[in-house]
Each structure stands twice: as C-alpha cells, then as structure tokens.
Symmetry: C2
Subunit: 443 residues, 2 copies
C-alpha cells in the first residue's frame, strides 16, 4: 500500500509558484518592519500549553491548539500565536534588553479550526511588537506600520479601513455608563463583536435582554453610543473620560503621520483576553471580501506573567492567507517570475563549456539553471518556460568558439546576440529593478 | 505562580543578535541555491508518522520524532527532516512538474535527541534537491552546490573535505567481495560508520567477529579495501564494477567543476535508509571541531512510495547550528550590525518634525528607528548603541530650521553635518555594499 501524497489535513504545500507569492508577502512585511526600525527575532515552535491558557482566551487554548504530552511528560502546544512567546522572551531578558524594544518575526502557527477557504490550520503571520513605551505614541506607531504595510502592497485609501477602539473605553462604557455587571458586560462584548453578522432586530432583541432594564434608559444610552462615528459624537461625560481622551489623541497623531484610514469603531472588541488598551483591526472594504484582515492592540500585562516586572507592549499580527486574498480581490498581486535569471540550453557535445559558462555567470551573481540532461532542444526550452524563467541562453559549438550567445526573452519573441559582460550587466540591471523597488530615486 | 520565561526544553530563542547570525546563514544558503537555479518551496510542519516509518530509519521514526494523535485520531509527527515531505510533494504533481525539478527550502525540524552542545531539538536546515536526473551529473551538481555554499561562507579548501561513497558500491563490496550475508552486512556497515570513533584494535576485533572467517581471507580483503584512498587503489575486480566506475566519473566531473575537496571515503555510510547511490558528507577539518557538518546523497526510491512512478532524486541538507559552529571555529562570522540604519535622537519639543523626517527617510528606503520616548539624550544614545545601530541622527530646534543634521557613526567618533539627500545616498551606498556582496564587479 502506498502512502498518501496529499498534505496533512488543513495544511498546504507551497510549490515554487505558491512560494513566490508567499515570499513576495514576506518581503513586504520584512521591508516595512525594518524600515520602522524593528528587528527580527525567532521563537520555538513549541511552548508549554499553560502559556496560552493564561491569557489567549479559552477557546484558543482549550479547543484550537495542537497539544500533546512529550516523551518527558510535559504538556506542550504548537504555537497558535506569537504574542505569549515574544512576551516570554522579553521577560527572560527584562534587564538586558534595550528599550523601546522593537521586534518583528515571520513565523508559522497552527490552530485546530474547521478548515475553510482563506483559513488554514497552519498559517503564517508577521508579528510586530514594541515593548517599553506606555504612551499612546507606541499605539500610533504600530498602527502606522500596519498602514505602511498596506500601502507597500499597493493598497489605496479606499481599499481598507483601520477600525480603532480601546478596551478601557469599552469597560468604562459597560460599567459606568450602561451600568452592567461583569456577566452582562461579557455578554454585551460578545454581542457587539457579532453586530455586523446579525440583523438589526436580532441585535436589538439580544441587547434588550442583556441590559435588562424596564425603563429602556440603558438601551437608549447604548443606541446613542452606537451612533457615534467619532469621539466628538459621544455624550460629554464619556467623551471627557481618560480612555476617550487617549483615543482622540491617538487619532490626532495618526492624522499628523499621514494615516488617513483610521476611524473610531465603538463595536470593535478583538478576541484576545490580554488586550488592556487600544485595539485595532485592518478591515477590507472590497464588497466581495468584506472582512477583518488582521488586528492588534496594547497588552501591558503579558510580560508580567513570566515572573518579570510588567512592561508595556503594543503589537499586531497580519496573516499571510488573508493578505494574499486581499491582494487577489484588489488585483494587487504583481507578476512574479522565477528567482532563476537564465536557463542555459545546451546544444550538442558542449556540456563542459556550458558548465564553465554557468559557473562564470554565477560568480558574477547571476542565477543560472544549466541543462544537464542531454535532451532535445524543445524539451529543454519547455522546462524553462514552465518554470517561468525569464531568459534562455543557447550554447552550442559555434557559441563556444565565438563566445557570443543567443539570449532569448521567454515572455516575448525578442532575442539578441550577446557577450558575457553584456549578459551580466543586463541581469544586474534586471535584479536592481526587482530587488530595490523600495529604494526610490531622489526627487 | 508565574510562568517560566525559559524556552521549551531543547529549543532556543533567537534574540535580534542571534537572529542576525541565523539570517546571515539563511541568506548565504538562499543566494547560492538560487544561483544554481533552485527554486524555493515550503512544506507543512506536520506529516503522518508513517511517512518517516517507511524509509528514514527506525531510530529516527520511532524514538526521535515528536509524535502525537490529533483531535481527528490521525497519528502525526513534527517533521524531523524534509526529504519525505519534498518527495511527497513531487509525487503529488508527478505529471505537472517541469523536470529536472530543482527545489530548495529553509525550514525548521524537531528531533527528540539528548540536548547537547551544537545539537538542539529544534533546528533549521537548508534542503537542496534535484528530481528527474538519473545520471551522475545530478550527484555532481548537488555536491558542487555544497562546495559553493562552503566557499560563500568564506571557507578555504583546507577548512573542510567532502567525503564521497556509493551505496551500491558498499553493497557490492559486502555481498560479492567480502561475501557477507544480510545480517553481517548490516553489522559491518554500522561498524564502518563508527570506525573513526573507536580504536584500531577494537575495530579489528569487531571486524574479525563480523566477517567470521577462520582463514583470515575476508579480513585481509577488508583491510585492502580500507587502504584505498582513491578508486584507482582498489583491487581490479572491484574497480571495474559499475558503482566504482560511476564514482570515478563523479570525481572527474567534480574536478572539472573546480571542486577540489571531494575525496573517496570507503567508510562513509550515512544514516538514512532511503539512499540508493552516491552518499556524501561535508566534514570539518578543524582540529577542535573535527566532525560531519552535513551530508546528502541519491534516493531514487522515495517518490515511488507515494503512489507515483518512481523518479530519481539527489539531495542534501546543511543545518544551521553546525554551520554556525563551523563559522565560529574558523573565525568566518562577519561583524553583523542591526538592520536599522539610523536611530533618530530627538532633542526637545520637535517630535512632530522628527516623525516627518523619519517618514521621509523611510520613503527613500532608509531603515529608521525614531525615539518616541521623550528621554534624556544619553539614554536615547545608549538604546541605539546597545542595538548595534550604525548611525545616530540628532534633531533639535536648530536642525528643524536649518534642515542640516548631525549624523554620528556609532562605531567611531566620526560625525558630520549633512542634509537629507546626502543621508539617503550614504545609506544607499552602505546598503549596496552589504546586500550586493554577491554581485562582484566585472573584471
């Protein structure tokens, strides 16, 4: 009996054409993160399960982790998210690190969710986190990085919106303004989180049940809140509260920083239990893909769980699959070719000379695939075209003698006779254009 | 009770200074693989355990995997190596792929080994594989890539040696020349594999027991074989066998290709059960680190296990920890600074102007960390120096007015007054030198 050739359930194989897209996304993530002074780190694939049980939320820790007991009796989980790991790392070097610590990673995670389109059980995320800044400037910076990432992908202002709220503001609204107890608060948060997914009348019915107020006063208050599109629209006593003032300050900084897509959203909750202040979410405005792309927020309490003095933190985590889908619906995915520049097609008994030429080109930084199969011309060409390699270089006895080669663009009928130095400079120019698109010309 | 801040047993946290080294290694791997026309792919972290049980070797599959039963009752393992996964992927698209398929990946793996210096339970490997070439040219190419990687790391010919053998040759030697049965063959292979680790007399005693030949004829034959430093030194009947002729051809191609470090090693075995022809190993010659760095070989049968027609394959897998150790003992690790180019030190009430300058620099591709903490000058500088950021840029009220800034090299006392355009071109030049060290000048 033979083994299955299919990937393990809920996971995905990345063939070169898929990996190209993933690498394009990863490169944008890395480039923008580094441009803001964030440095890359790495964390283990496994963590003790208790790390997630503490603050990630019950559903994630209990139902969605890939958990097992190792050969040493330790209960471990394949990481379902990065925030606890990076918090643990900061706690371990609480004294030694330079603050503010700006950290990023590109890593894979697993969650045992029902596999569905655009949601895989193994997925990749960028994590961007800043530690050690307790002012709103840090929240603004992380949102600015989120915005810069969207822009670097080619997104326009109309393509997405950044919804912003604040956990302290939510708590204040629930306890002091709506006068809800802890249980009712939880229920209301859950309801608000689902508001977009249910009908207006369902929402009103459920809200009425939760506020449990015969006078109808609380429901009226809730409706007033929900009508607020800006902090300025809020009732005075709420608007002058500390969390609301902080939110207003955040929007001011974001506006100064050229972030035009951020807007207050009183219904935004975000799932993780560890958030303690600002929460935000980048939302796709495309009508066929109207959904949350990724989010983040402030979590000042997490580092303190690992035996260190607490330290303030703000972070976010865009996922690869969501971004890929966004790029697809907005037609923002660039045409990606192979990383190989040239496929050398070998005609006749010149393998040794072809190998020498390939090595010589490689020593000049050109990516060269050399045919070593002794096949017919058309089959060699077919291989290169199928792989999306931009250039074919033909070498036969004449070329070995003359040192002039035919270079053919696989995407057109264009071909030219070229010498070694010309090939190298052509490929170098091509690479500069492809790699350095982050380095713009000076005005 | 607080959670432990230490990484899970046998795994490692990569802080930015560690990740820099890892990224340096990964970049060399990627650069060289792509230079030879290999394209990147990705595979899942989990595979069904049976994938390894088939051919990876009993010890690895049964004792060294992180195995568990998932919520759907499937017995899975965190991948301990890549070869079965990439073979599965090729099998799944046997018909569609372009051949020769040249594939590479940089990925993490886990093996439940006793943690020890230079051997972690979670580790990173480059995997380079070529599918669809049944001639020795493919074996030679993979060895040439291994050699190019060592050279790209700055290794000299004397720093390492590439040991080469052939499984068919080993089988022939055992069955036809030494006339050993299957059981004795296995024992002899194991003994040869440990030859370097035991004394001469221990080896002779154990070999005598295995060959079980009162005449002493077989032992003499074995000793003759072991004295052979080249194929040419072998007894005639062995030397003219197909595997020996193939080995000789391999050495000829390697010599032509400028690989000077490959040598025949009759004791080289390599652990995996799936090897079917050439096996090789890059060995560190440094006296304090005399050990195998990585290896590879031909495995023509693996794709066929996944329900597809068999397809020939040659591959190899250097590991990150081994390479890092090699670079250390040979003093080949370059000085690595932060990916951040500039740390902007903010003096006085100019945060808004500083933010604008930072954004402007970033839009020109400069990596800029901006201080947003309102701290004293010396504390801001300390942060940048601790992070190994190469330049400080000071901005205060005067600089905002004049648009001329003080730029200070953190590694020297050098500082200069510069305008925006000059900063950008300086950083751009710096980046070119760092990033493009693979693109050499034309002679």
């Amino acid at each position: 009996m033979s083994l299955s050739s299919q990937p393990y359930k809920g996971t995905r194989d990345y063939y070169p054409e898929d990996k190209r897209i993933q690498n394009y996304i990863f490169n944008v993530w890395r480039r923008v993160s580094e441009r803001y002074g964030y440095e890359e780190y790495g964390a283990p694939t496994l963590e003790p399960l208790e790390v997630y049980a503490a603050k990630s939320g019950q559903e994630l820790a209990n139902e969605q982790t890939y958990t097992f007991t190792d050969r040493g009796g330790r209960v471990v989980a394949i990481r379902p998210e990065m925030t606890p790991s990076v918090s643990r790392m900061v706690a371990a070097r609480r004294q030694e690190l330079a603050y503010p610590a700006r950290l990023y990673s590109v890593a894979n995670f697993m969650r045992y969710e029902r596999p569905q389109r655009g949601r895989e059980r193994e997925f990749w995320q960028l994590n961007v986190d800043i530690f050690g800044v307790d002012t709103i400037a840090a929240d603004a910076e992380v949102i600015a990085v989120a915005n810069a990432i969207m822009k670097e992908f080619g997104a326009k202002d109309k393509d997405y919106v950044i919804r912003v709220n604040n956990r302290n503001f939510i708590n204040l609204m629930m306890s002091e303004y709506l006068e809800l107890d802890a249980k009712a608060t939880q229920a209301m948060i859950k309801l608000l989180d689902r508001k977009d997914k249910i009908s207006e009348s369902d929402f009103t019915d459920q809200a009425t049940a939760i506020v449990d107020d015969k006078s109808g006063e609380r429901l009226k208050k809730l409706q007033t809140l929900l009508r607020a599109k800006n902090i300025a629209d809020l009732p005075t006593d709420i608007r002058t509260s500390l969390p609301a003032v902080e939110l207003e300050e955040l929007f001011t900084i974001l506006e100064q920083a050229g972030v035009k897509n951020a807007k207050f959203d009183i219904t935004l909750m975000r799932g993780f239990d560890y958030y303690t202040g600002t929460v935000f979410e980048v939302f796709d405005t495309h009508e066929e893909n109207s959904r949350s792309l990724f989010g983040g927020g402030r979590y000042d309490g997490l580092v303190g769980l690992f035996g260190a003095e607490p330290i303030s933190a703000v972070g976010m985590a865009p996922g690869g699959t969501m971004i890929e889908k966004f790029l697809e619906v907005h037609e923002l995915l660039p045409k990606l070719t192979s990383t190989t520049d040239i496929y050398i097609v070998v005609l006749g008994d010149v393998q040794k000379a072809a190998d020498k030429l390939a090595r010589h080109l490689r020593s000049e930084g050109v990516n060269v695939e050399l045919d070593i199969t002794d096949r017919k011309l058309d089959r060699q060409i077919k291989t290169a075209v199928k792989k999306n390699i931009p250039y074919l270089l033909f070498i036969g006895e004449d070329e070995v003698k003359s040192e002039v080669y035919t270079l053919k663009d696989t995407t057109s009928t264009e071909e030219q006779k070229v010498g070694f130095a010309r090939i190298v400079s052509m490929m170098r120019d091509r690479r500069r254009v492809t790699d350095d698109d982050d380095i713009l010309d000076l005005e």
